[in-house]
């Protein structure tokens, strides 16, 4: 029964996403989705993936990474590289092309998996030396790592160097972004609810105590870190292959990582709902404030900085704290009944 429900839920989700995707591309009768709103919505989806995946390491495991953009870059460039240089060949093997839905879907899957694998490897390489040490070393090493990645990318002409990867083929669409976003939420959610998640919570609470209980803290931290990096890599792959959104080393810097951190800090570190909320709000806000930012250049980042500081001082748990917005929680609010009774 439970398995059936899950399969049904998955099928329904995919169905709805495909339907929406059709609406996005072809419209419905006389109606079209406004391209500007569609673009913002797609960017929200990508930021949700980034924020929720960062939340795994920063929120659940309590380790502080400020190099998420670096993993996004590794995954994004690898994924885009696969599509640009092998995409047509792969689609050709299937007797299809990149303009064809099936061909594009297969190439997209392969490209995103490559991106995830590359970012995971990078996560492993960064995680092993730094996660053995105290928390703030991780912060500075992840930052350094993303700088190193940036410099390396600048030196590879095949991916566009300083110009950015403008050769990218725009095969990302609404379906892929939101399918991955939902998958990311499910993965992180399930990790949080699993034994692995409990271990991470223990490490966050007291690392020495966790060690004393026989937990190999480094192993679990590295594992969480690698998963988080892989998801960021997928987000990079989606972002770099979105229409008119080429990856650029200048965009994947320290400031980009900070933006993702602000999203989860505002929403509440450790809360997936909070990360989703933060990503959505902080993608819409700057677009809504375009006029203001034009009159007072730089004000947006000043606002971000103030938000960070003030949140830390007055509400370090963020808007949501560690709470999640779920059916059970909503029903509990509505009916004022204990959660146990519902199950």
């Amino acid at each position: 029964m439970r398995v059936t429900t899950k399969i049904l839920a998955t099928a329904a989700t995919v169905g709805v996403l495909l339907g929406l995707n059709y609406l996005f591309e072809y419209g419905f009768g006389d109606f079209r989705i406004n391209a500007y709103y569609a673009r913002i919505l797609n960017l929200i989806g990508i930021n949700v993936i980034l924020a929720v995946s960062l939340n795994l390491i920063n929120g659940l495991a309590g380790q502080f990474s400020i190099g998420h953009a670096g993993f996004m870059a590794v995954g994004g460039y690898s994924a885009t590289f696969v599509t640009v240089y092998y995409g047509r060949a792969i689609a050709g093997l299937l007797g299809s092309s990149l303009d064809d839905a099936t061909g594009a879907a297969v190439v997209m899957t392969i490209s995103l998996l490559t991106g995830a694998a590359a970012a995971a490897l990078a996560g492993l390489a960064v995680g092993i030396p730094s996660l053995r040490l105290r928390g703030d070393y991780l912060a500075i090493v992840t930052l350094g790592f993303s700088e190193i990645i940036r410099v390396i990318i600048l030196n590879i002409p095949a991916v566009g160097g300083a110009t950015g990867f403008t050769a990218a083929i725009p095969i990302t669409n609404f379906f892929w972004i939101f399918a991955v976003a939902i998958l990311t939420i499910v993965i992180v959610r399930n990790i949080a609810a699993s034994t692995f998640g409990r271990v991470l919570a223990t490490i966050r609470g007291d690392e020495i105590a966790a060690e004393a209980m026989g937990i190999s803290t480094t192993r679990y931290k590295v594992l969480a870190f690698v998963i988080s990096a892989a998801l960021a890599g997928v987000a990079g792959g989606l972002s770099g292959q979105l229409f008119a959104n080429p990856l650029n080393p200048q965009n994947l810097n320290f400031v980009r990582s900070i933006e993702i951190i602000v999203m989860i800090v505002i929403g509440g570190i450790g809360s997936i709902s909070g990360a989703v909320f933060g990503a959505t709000a902080l993608t819409i806000l700057p677009e809504a404030l375009r006029r203001l930012d034009q009159q007072f250049p730089g004000l947006r980042m000043v606002t971000y900085a103030l938000l960070l500081i003030l949140t830390m001082i007055f509400r370090p748990q963020g808007l949501f704290g560690r709470r999640e917005v779920s059916w059970a929680w909503l029903r509990r609010r509505g009916q004022d009944r204990p959660a146990a009774a519902i199950k």
Binding site: Y137, I269, L308
Partner: protein, 299 residues
């Protein structure tokens, strides 16, 4: 041969800049165990304070050493006050929250200064007044300017000065006690709030002195000038052993020499990555840095 010597001088000049900033980083970290991300930005503020002071005194048209000293001291005083304010209103409220909160706050303060700087000063680079005219000394084909020489001398003086303060004075003793255990220090009757504020004032004043000196030698200042230089200086502090004063000096000079050496080879495109690559290697093989070790007394 004179090229090698010249590069050595170049590396030393650059290293002295990193060292000057790293000293402030290492001191704050030593006392509070806090990576003060905003340190590089206080350095930037110091340069801007110097810019406005020197222009007010019209030192660009009529350079004078006395004027330069007044400007430097003025910038140091301004930044000392800013440092204390940052500590009081941003760091102190989160001191008893989890460590993560302090780190995020520090990043917030850093961003605030960088982008607030862009709002207030504008993003375009400014020309720093030449309070002391550049003079090039040439010895056997090797050139060095008086301004670069000044940076090296100041960095060495500051290092010995800090060593003296930390190890030979009453307040230094209090700083070491606070660093060792804040609660116990408090129980012993040490006004730890005062000690921490003093540490920030001292660190920020040093950053300001660094800002003015560097701006004099490389007269282009902009609100983001502290970002990369600050990060590399931090790496220098970790490399030397964070919390260790001579270590910061050694780390700074090593990073300076390394970058200079890379610039002079075919690998100049990878120069910006060098400091961070070294950081990762250090953490793999010698996490406490060159001079740091678990038993060495910090701060």
């Amino acid at each position: 041969m004179d090229t090698v010597l010249q590069q050595l001088i170049n590396g030393l000049s650059l290293g002295a800049i990193y060292a000057l900033i790293a000293l402030g980083y290492t001191m704050v970290y030593g006392v509070l165990r806090l990576i003060n991300f905003a340190h590089g930005d206080v350095y930037m503020l110091g340069a801007f304070a110097g810019y406005y002071l020197a222009n007010a005194l019209d030192l660009d048209a009529s350079p004078s050493i006395l004027g330069a000293i007044v400007v430097t001291l003025g910038a140091m005083a301004i930044c000392a006050v800013i440092g204390v304010l940052i500590e009081r209103f941003a760091y102190r409220p989160v001191r008893h929250h989890p460590r993560l909160a302090s780190l995020i706050t520090a990043i917030g303060v850093s961003l605030l200064l960088e982008y607030g700087g862009q709002v207030v000063f504008g993003a375009n680079p400014r020309f720093f007044p030449q309070m002391i005219r550049a003079e090039v000394y040439s010895v056997g084909g090797v050139q060095i300017t008086n301004q670069n020489l000044l940076i090296i001398v100041v960095a060495v003086i500051v290092m010995f000065g800090l060593e003296f303060i930390v190890h030979r004075t009453r307040i230094g003793k209090a700083m070491r006690a606070t660093s060792f255990n804040l609660s116990v220090a408090k129980l012993m009757g040490i006004n730890t709030d005062y000690v921490i504020a003093f540490t920030f004032a001292l660190g920020s004043a040093l950053a300001a002195a660094g800002g003015v000196m560097v701006a004099l030698a490389i007269p282009r200042i902009d609100p983001l000038m502290g970002l990369m230089t600050g990060l590399k200086a931090f790496v220098a502090a970790v490399l030397g052993g964070i919390g260790n004063i001579p270590g910061a000096m050694i780390g700074g000079v090593l990073i300076g020499l390394l970058e200079t050496w890379l610039s002079a080879t075919a690998y100049s495109t990878y120069r910006d990555a060098a400091a961070f690559a070294v950081l990762i290697l250090i953490l793999l093989f010698r996490p406490a840095g060159i001079l740091g070790s678990a038993t060495v007394e910090k701060v």
